[in-house]
Chain length 284, copies 2
């Protein structure tokens, strides 16, 4: 680090357990880029953004509780992030702050890198919270889907999400309650199943939302849950010869997308994934 | 670096050639402190200080052109820095920004560490610019001098400095033009001679302000010029068996004082001095 080192950072509150500094610093080191990445515990987002401008910080990751409120501080917000309704990334381009959301991109790229075809596919999203929203809206904007179905227990949230998804795609968008019947109707007929509820997350790792016998060979199943690394849902889907993708992948690839925005370089995926895997395995 | 890393930085404009990141990062590494130090090129000091507050940056070094204007952004300014009229250091204490000036401290501690006695001494300061001001005011506040004499070519600046020095000490403070006569009068009778004019600085390294035969054995001679590392002034003083102190020492020890403010730890002087020496030698 010297006087030409460019700074990136994550802001959130609390922030002391964020993995982002290790992930990005490992990637900067791998490519010998003169960048560094720190974490700031921030209460006042407007003051933090004034700081990003005033100090010339190049890139920011934004995490809870600032993903929505920080949008108002941007000079420009990417249309996908606007559709999602929050940002997780800021790129400071010569003093102009541009907001992005790479969470959905992280999931989308995880699917594509695993060989999953999204254009022309019937996509089923389970859940309607933050992760579901980021993924569903991103896929709507970025892919030519055949259809999207959203199943969730919170009616208002689910309907609002379906509406925002529909604004970004010409594909039909359906939403419904999530229960035995709707799962039995939609899981077998979907090409891509994206699980975004907390079911199966540590410590209740034996739970799963989807009955095993609904999976069909050749489907792609993604689980946003990343602790444990391989959930019961993924194990069962795998046993049914589905292509499975771990939540960890999304987490790594949202960081990959940030890194590439800030540096203009191709991110060293393997190095970044190793940091995340090592951290999650040491927790497990 | 992880999510608990504390950030310090230097602000200035331009800033790309600052050595401060290497000096402080080497010191943090030596003591295995979870701190990092970067440089920010800053135009708007108020915005930068808003950033320091908003992001919770722990410590700042301040350099040209922001040393004066940044004072207005502080919650509190150390009395010595107030007397000097500018700050080179900010310590963020739980959101309260406290301004200090460690430039004069750097010179004072260089003198003391070299074994020079300041209490009871007759001190001669040559020059009345920024370095002279920082050193003279600091010595006035921090030591029990016998007297201080300031010789300089810019009458207004010199008189203002003498006034500000007098406000911090009960010792008599004299100021006069710098010329053959005043040098012949004051150099031989002083215990400590502090040279703060640019004479002798690269590239005109053969120049010196003080005729060699005015030095007396046992005097202490400090030269704020640090390029070259050993000026003609210091070589001649050394030949006359004076104790000599290089400008590099002041530069290292102003950073030492900053480091100790921010971290609460004793700074690793040797490590910091090596960074500065290596950089100055590679330039020479």
């Amino acid at each position: 680090m010297d006087a030409k080192t460019k700074l990136c950072a994550v802001i959130g509150n609390p922030i002391g357990h964020s993995l982002s500094p290790q992930i990005h610093n490992a990637a900067f080191a791998e490519l010998r880029l003169n960048f560094a990445y720190v974490a700031f515990q921030v209460e006042d987002v407007a003051a933090a953004m004034a700081g990003v401008r005033g100090l010339g910080i190049v890139g920011l990751s934004i995490t809870i509780p600032h993903k929505v409120t920080s949008m108002a501080e941007m000079d420009q917000v990417d249309p996908v992030a606007q559709g999602i309704g929050c940002i997780n990334t800021v790129h400071n381009v010569d003093g102009k702050l541009v907001g992005y959301n790479t969470d959905g991109l992280g999931a989308m790229n995880s699917l594509l890198e695993a060989g999953c075809k999204l254009d022309g596919s019937k996509v089923l999203v389970l859940g309607s919270g933050g992760a579901a929203r980021a993924i569903a809206v991103t896929l709507a904007h970025k892919c030519e889907l055949n259809s999207m179905t959203i199943l969730g227990v919170i009616k208002d949230e689910r309907e609002k999400l379906a509406q925002d998804v529909a604004a970004g795609t010409e594909a039909p968008v359906v939403n419904d309650d999530v229960n035995e019947e709707t799962l039995a109707e939609h899981v077998p007929s979907s090409d891509v199943i994206i699980h975004c509820t907390p079911i199966g997350m540590h410590p209740k790792t034996d739970d799963t939302l989807v009955p095993e016998d609904l999976f069909r060979e050749g489907q792609t199943v993604f689980d946003a849950v990343y602790n444990p690394l391989e959930t019961v849902l993924l194990k069962q889907a795998s046993a049914k010869k589905c292509r499975t993708i771990r939540g960890m992948e999304m987490f790594v690839r949202q960081a990959v997308a940030q890194f590439e925005l800030w540096t203009g370089e191709t991110a060293p995926y393997d190095v970044m994934a190793k940091v995340v895997r090592d951290a999650l395995e040491s927790k497990a």
